[in-house]
């Protein structure tokens, strides 16, 4: 059963609200774990980035909901705004990962010898998942920025007139 355009718009709105609800929920969980801010402390920075990457799965699910909303009811302004947010998040993620790599090296010197192996495994996981997430987010940002405003087959009256005025 095909959805009508009004139903598609409502469904898209519901998916968008659901996506942002998940994002707000995850950010509040993350905030409760990392506040108060202590950016001068290497342990805090290392833990904060690790916690943030640990929230990757629910945030990706929220992103899929937002993307489904955009695909169902394309809107040039909204897709570009979402694209800009994705590019911003990708930049922040890459910056955080760069700091995390330096902090991981520092942390290896600070922890006991028997904990170094576990620390290395966790750091590799965070860098791997975080790096891939940053790449995916950046690619999505570009994709959303260049997203067409409407599905094919729907021409504006202006385009119909242009096609009709062309010589055979």
């Amino acid at each position: 059963m095909a959805l009508r355009s009004t139903e598609q718009r409502w469904l898209a709105a519901a998916l968008t609200v659901a996506g942002f609800t998940i994002i707000l929920d995850q950010v509040s969980i993350l905030a409760s774990g990392v506040l108060p801010l202590n950016t001068g402390m290497v342990q805090w920075r290392f833990g904060a980035v690790g916690l943030a990457i640990g929230r990757a799965t629910p945030l990706l699910i929220a992103d899929a909901l937002l993307l489904a909303g955009v695909a169902l009811a394309p809107n040039r302004w909204w897709s570009r705004a979402l694209g800009a947010i994705h590019l911003l998040v990708a930049g922040l993620l890459l910056g955080a990962l760069a700091v995390f790599v330096l902090d991981a090296a520092e942390m290896r010197r600070l922890v006991a010898l028997e904990r170094q192996q576990a620390l290395l495994v966790s750091a590799v996981r965070v860098i791997g998942v975080g790096g891939l997430a940053a790449m995916l987010t950046a690619w999505l940002g570009v994709r959303l920025f260049r997203l067409p405003a409407r599905p094919p087959g729907r021409r504006t009256s202006e385009e119909v007139l242009m096609v009709g005025s062309q010589a055979p």
């Binding site: 799965t57 169902l72 891939l132 690619w139 994709r143 409407r150």
Partner: protein, 152 residues
């Protein structure tokens, strides 16, 4: 990037690869978390730990399956997704069987063992049903701009 490179004029088609990316990344995240937890030897070890972690990962895995199914347009891609879902359900079934035929838990670990068996059963049911529903579906969820012809 041209409009064609962005997937033609249909936003749904343009965003389809994004769903594949999201599904694969969720799968990788879940698998790496699971591997680190079980491999680290955190108590309770063995079946309890594996099954309890499996339960917490069922929801994201089902979401990953759905995202991959939306993203994979071809029949071959969809069959791969179904195979991955059935494999995960099979792994959970093995955990469940190991728990059922294993030695009786001691008084101290009884609650954990019972919870672990329920966890594994939920994983088998959830992942198996999702994969079978995807297998039975005649075509992947389509965008509003696409024709609705049966696949394959």
């Amino acid at each position: 990037m041209s409009r064609e490179a962005a997937g033609g004029l249909d936003p749904w088609m343009a965003l389809r690869p994004a769903f594949v990316g999201v599904g694969l990344l969720i799968g990788l995240d879940v698998a790496s978390q699971y591997a680190i937890y079980v491999g680290s030897g955190i108590e309770p070890a063995g079946f309890d730990a594996a099954s309890q972690v499996a339960l917490t990962q069922v929801s994201p895995l089902v979401c990953a399956l759905v995202a991959l199914a939306i993203g994979c347009g071809s029949r071959a891609g969809r069959m791969l997704v179904v195979a991955a879902g059935l494999s995960a359900a099979g792994a959970a079934a093995i955990l469940l069987i190991l728990g059922l035929i294993g030695p009786d838990p001691t008084a101290g670990t009884r609650q954990g063992a019972t919870q672990a068996r329920w966890s594994a059963a939920v994983a088998v049911l959830g992942l198996g049903t999702s994969a079978l529903l995807l297998l039975r579906s005649r075509s992947v969820p389509e965008g509003p701009g696409e024709s609705r012809t049966p696949a394959g």
